[in-house]
């Protein structure tokens, strides 16, 4: 048990760096330990990044994707990029439908700049983001032909979720997406500049459509005569500041004022829950195999539910909506560190995290215009991540990626094995130099296994049996790491095995 004043030890420091970024730099760890930093001080340092201005560019999805991956390898703030990935998954927008490299790149830049700021402002920015307006058909939505696509996903995925943490419905499935479609009617994109534009002539007004009723959200329907979100049966008007372009911002403010059955702002709890799932762990199946919910479904009274409410109250997120403050409270919370001591509270690495962390830790460069991993397969990092099931900037749907269990199917494992092979066989320019990664004076197979496991951050996670299997691979007797063939064959092979191991897929 600890808190923000707990002084970091080496394991905790590495955990914090790995989970908030890509791999743990020993230089940073050493500095933190030397100065005796607390969880709170380290988290403050991480959260205080200046948002970068990077914008991925290219003439195809592959080029855009690889540009971002290359940036991830060198970005100053790993947390900045982790948060961009989080919001990219949250406001998932696929190049496959948008089809415009410039607009997709711009959206990525918007997320980078706004990722740790005020969440209401972030949602307002996404509402009028051109790539999003194409992706979820805001550009097709008009007063004569309403299109509910954006309104539905805004409620279900971007803000409230369909139900609150206790399973109570948050809004009228029938009425509220249609109401939001009215507010968003008239918004589109200026064809020459690609900028958002509002056209009054396409906007729905109450006078023109009296049969559609008043412009309200969260009013009563058949399923909930008392209405939703604590606004009462009459709901909340988004035309109370007049009709027109301002309605979409009113919609956003009303959504953030929505309260769940406990009177807590619904968006705050859902966002904290998802950030915990992202930074800490999702499902939690205890040592007896019993499903305890975890952050995937935090039951009332559970540690996870308490953690969610604690970080909201400590950060003031439910009133100030500052994402950075919320993330800071998560990064000092016991629940964030739980996986260090409880093997059930681990999380499956996202493929992008697996790939970038591996390349960074082992010093492997991406080569050529198509960013190839310079091993035997000599394939683009885009191909590798596509096989693993995660092409950034092209999520499979508006739901983003499925996390945790979905990353450990056979397809995903096979792709990780293939990536690991291309890394450990990267012998040419830009490749891995195992002799520089492991102390070549070591001769004891156990000590060599420990060194490689330490390098890749899994030493404490390997069971005795697993360690024995890896030692067995090196063979009995002393290993001569000064012999180039031994290094080229067995040390590379050992690094490959650890990259392919169950432990390395988790964090």
């Amino acid at each position: 048990m600890g808190g923000e004043t707990t002084i970091l030890d080496r394991r905790s420091a590495r955990h914090l760096l790995r989970r908030s970024g890509f791999g743990a730099s020993e230089r940073v760890v050493d500095r933190w330990l030397r100065f005796g930093l607390t969880r709170g001080q380290a988290a403050d340092e991480l959260v205080s990044f200046t948002p970068a201005g990077f914008k991925p560019g290219g003439r195809s999805l592959g080029e855009l994707h690889n540009a971002w991956v290359k940036y991830l390898l060198k970005a100053r703030s790993g947390l900045n990029e982790k948060l961009v990935l989080f919001w990219h998954d949250h406001f998932a927008t696929s190049f496959g439908k948008v089809g415009d490299e410039i607009l997709v790149g711009r959206q990525n830049q918007v997320l980078r700049k706004a990722c740790r700021g005020n969440m209401i402002d972030l949602v307002k920015a996404v509402n009028r983001d051109p790539a999003m307006m194409i992706f979820l058909d805001t550009v097709k939505n008009s007063k004569t032909e309403p299109n509910e696509n954006y309104g539905r996903e805004m409620l279900e995925l971007f803000t409230l979720g369909t139900v609150d943490l206790d399973g109570r419905r948050n809004y009228s499935d029938q009425k509220d997406p249609a109401a939001i479609a009215r507010a968003f009617s008239g918004w589109g994109i200026d064809r020459t500049s690609g900028a958002p534009v509002f056209r009054d002539s396409r906007h729905d007004t109450q006078a023109a459509y009296p049969e559609r009723g008043p412009k309200i959200l969260f009013g009563a329907d058949d399923a909930s005569p008392q209405g939703y979100g604590g606004f009462g049966p009459g709901g909340a008007s988004f035309a109370d500041a007049g009709e027109g372009a301002q309605e979409i911002d009113r919609v956003t403010e009303i959504v953030f004022a929505h309260r769940d059955g406990d009177g807590v702002p619904t968006v705050a709890r859902r966002t904290a829950k998802r950030l915990f799932e992202f930074f800490a762990y999702g499902a939690y199946r205890d040592a007896q195999g019993v499903d305890r919910g975890g952050f995937a479904s935090p039951e009332p009274g559970s540690e996870e539910r308490l953690a969610i409410d604690e970080v909201i109250s400590r950060s003031g997120f439910a009133t100030r909506w500052e994402v950075g403050a919320l993330v800071r409270e998560i990064l000092v919370h016991d629940a964030f560190y739980a996986g260090l001591d409880d093997p059930a509270r681990k999380s499956v690495k996202w493929p992008i995290d697996f790939a970038v962390t591996t390349l960074k830790t082992l010093g492997v460069k991406l080569m050529g215009r198509d960013s190839r991993v310079p091993g035997l397969g000599d394939r683009s990092v885009y191909t590798h991540l596509s096989n693993m099931g995660q092409v950034v900037l092209n999520p499979p749907s508006v739901f983003g990626w499925d996390w945790e269990g979905a990353w450990v199917g056979s397809q995903s494992l096979l792709a990780r094995f293939g990536f690991a092979r291309d890394v450990y066989t990267a012998r040419s320019t830009g490749g891995m130099r195992p002799e520089k990664l492991v102390d070549s004076t070591l001769t004891d197979p156990g000590a060599i296994v420990d060194a490689v496991a330490e390098l890749l951050g899994v030493r404490e996670d390997l069971s005795a049996g697993e360690r024995a299997a890896l030692v067995g691979y090196l063979g009995a007797g002393p290993v001569n790491l000064l012999d180039p063939v031994t290094v080229d064959k067995k040390l590379r092979g050992l690094i490959g095995l650890v990259l392919q191991s169950p432990a390395y897929q988790l964090h």
Partner: protein
């Protein structure tokens, strides 16, 4: 079910020799029969919400007003989605020689979207082209049950939530059924005899699909059977391959008693290593023996046809006597049905046409391939075609928003082809306030088909699962709900029948 056993594992390096031409060059030899009667099931999803109203379409009013209501909701002209009874690219009538293609409730004649005949301009155009005739040809041959009005109590317009209901067969959100799929529960029930790393199900996608999810046995996911290989180092170090494989297998095997994600990873890894022993060779065998059939699948587009070819490969290997192929349940996707805009009506260049053409041609070629394999295989494989919801009755300017009940297809030579269940009532006066058709049970004229009835009929009558096991309240694949009387499921529900003559869904 007797547990099907793998041949003793001989290791990765010798697997190729074991599965060499000697074993597989024989003509089809039926392996030992499994208790499901050596039958196969393919779950094929039209992901995104297929517009059912433009898939099975009323061609006249019959004794009701279906066609008039359809024409009021689906417009002609630019952006219009109305499918015409005649003129260019007309609807394909379901009433053909020997088959009644009428809606049982209203008597309206029904037609099929013309794209479902599998016409891909410039690629599949004439008799003799692979897949030509598509789903309509399979229908005309009596191999398609069109199950109308499929849904669940109320409906849900969220892709995710509607998918979850279709996956779990659990519309009331009973927590015991919330994290497993209806097929997964079937594969994992103890009587099926599969262990934690056996592979009775294969999904041709990046991750295991929801209806296959469970925690007791492994379902493998890969895009292609040939992907089940362990990438190796340079040939100079090939002597090290066996040591590497032994070590990595040990690491995954070591997780079986660890908690949470460890065990899940361990089982997935071990199952994957088993698949490496079996499936690349299965793929090669098919490609060697059935090259011309294989080439046909390449004409269907990039998705469904090629995935069905993988199903055909697995079935072919198993039927060729490789008892290590346990898989009999498969999942295949056809994505892109979320047609909010630019859906296209009867235009061969439109989105919906392209999706339906790929679906229709792929299914036709798949069943032609199976029939050619012999051993009555085309009668031993059933494909269930489903989608998480249909779409809004009234179209928007060029597409359709999310909707409620829609048609499913049950396809195969073992099926008694025909119309099952009622078309939903699309009269504007009868729609819910959001413009969607209503789910109905009991004696209502427009009674819907509950998705659990479809699954139950498949489980009991196709896969031979005892009906009592299907609805066991504790462990059953489907829930015996204690909701309102309309939702109290009994064994009698699992007996969908052809409307015109009451024939069962499957031939004896």
């Amino acid at each position: 079910m007797d547990r099907r056993r793998f041949l003793s594992r001989t290791g990765w390096l010798t697997a190729g020799a074991l599965l060499g031409p000697g074993l597989f060059s024989r003509p089809l030899v039926r392996g030992a029969l499994a208790a499901q009667g050596d039958r196969y099931l393919v779950s094929l999803v039209l992901d995104g919400g297929n517009d059912g109203l433009n898939t099975i379409v009323p061609m006249d009013d019959g004794d009701g007003s279906l066609r008039s209501d359809y024409e009021a909701a689906r417009l002609g002209g630019t952006g219009g989605l109305r499918l015409a009874v005649d003129g260019p690219n007309p609807l394909l009538p379901l009433s053909v020689a020997g088959l009644a293609g009428r809606d049982p409730n209203t008597g309206a004649e029904l037609g099929m979207h013309p794209g479902l005949a599998g016409i891909v301009p410039g690629v599949i155009e004439a008799s003799g082209d692979p897949g030509f005739g598509g789903l309509h040809a399979l229908w005309a041959a009596g191999k398609v049950a069109v199950v109308q009005g499929c849904g669940f109590p109320d409906y849900n317009l969220s892709h995710d939530e509607a998918r979850r209901v279709f996956h779990t067969a659990n519309p009331r959100g009973v927590s015991a059924l919330a994290t497993s799929g209806w097929l997964g529960r079937t594969l994992a029930r103890p009587a099926a005899g599969f262990g934690a790393t056996d592979v009775p199900g294969l999904n041709f996608r990046d991750a295991v699909a929801g209806e296959f999810r469970q925690h007791a046995t492994a379902v493998a996911a890969a895009r292609r059977l040939s992907d089940f290989t362990m990438p190796k180092d340079v040939s100079a170090y090939s002597s090290d391959n066996a040591a590497k494989l032994a070590a990595i297998e040990a690491l995954y095997a070591a997780q079986s008693s660890r908690p949470g994600p460890w065990r899940e990873l361990g089982d997935a890894g071990t199952a994957t290593f088993r698949c490496m022993d079996v499936f690349p060779a299965a793929s090669k065998l098919y490609l060697a023996d059935r090259a011309a059939w294989s080439a046909g699948y390449d004409k269907m587009g990039l998705g469904t046809g090629r995935d069905l070819r993988e199903v055909a490969k697995a079935i072919y290997a198993r039927e060729s006597g490789d008892e290590r192929v346990q898989a009999f349940a498969f999942r295949v996707d056809n994505g892109g049905y979320d047609t909010h805009s630019d859906q296209g009506g009867a235009d061969p260049a439109g989105q919906h046409w392209a999706l339906h053409a790929e679906l229709g041609a792929s299914l036709k070629h798949f069943f032609d391939d199976l029939a050619d394999m012999g051993s009555a295989l085309d009668r031993r494989v059933t494909v269930l075609v489903w989608s998480e919801f249909s779409r809004r009755v009234r179209q928007n300017d060029s597409g359709t928003d999310h909707g409620s009940q829609g048609p499913m297809f049950v396809v195969g030579g073992g099926v008694n082809g025909g119309v099952v269940g009622n078309h939903p009532n699309i009269a504007s006066s009868d729609l819910a306030s959001d413009g969607n058709t209503r789910y109905r049970q009991g004696t209502h004229d427009f009674r819907s088909t509950d998705v659990r009835d479809v699954y139950g009929t498949l489980l009991v009558q196709w896969l031979g699962v005892p009906a009592a096991a299907v609805i066991d309240p504790a462990t059953g694949m489907l829930r015996l709900d204690d909701g309102p009387p309309d939702e109290r499921w009994t064994v009698a529900n699992f007996d969908l029948r052809r409307a015109v003559d009451g024939a069962p869904l499957f031939a004896a």
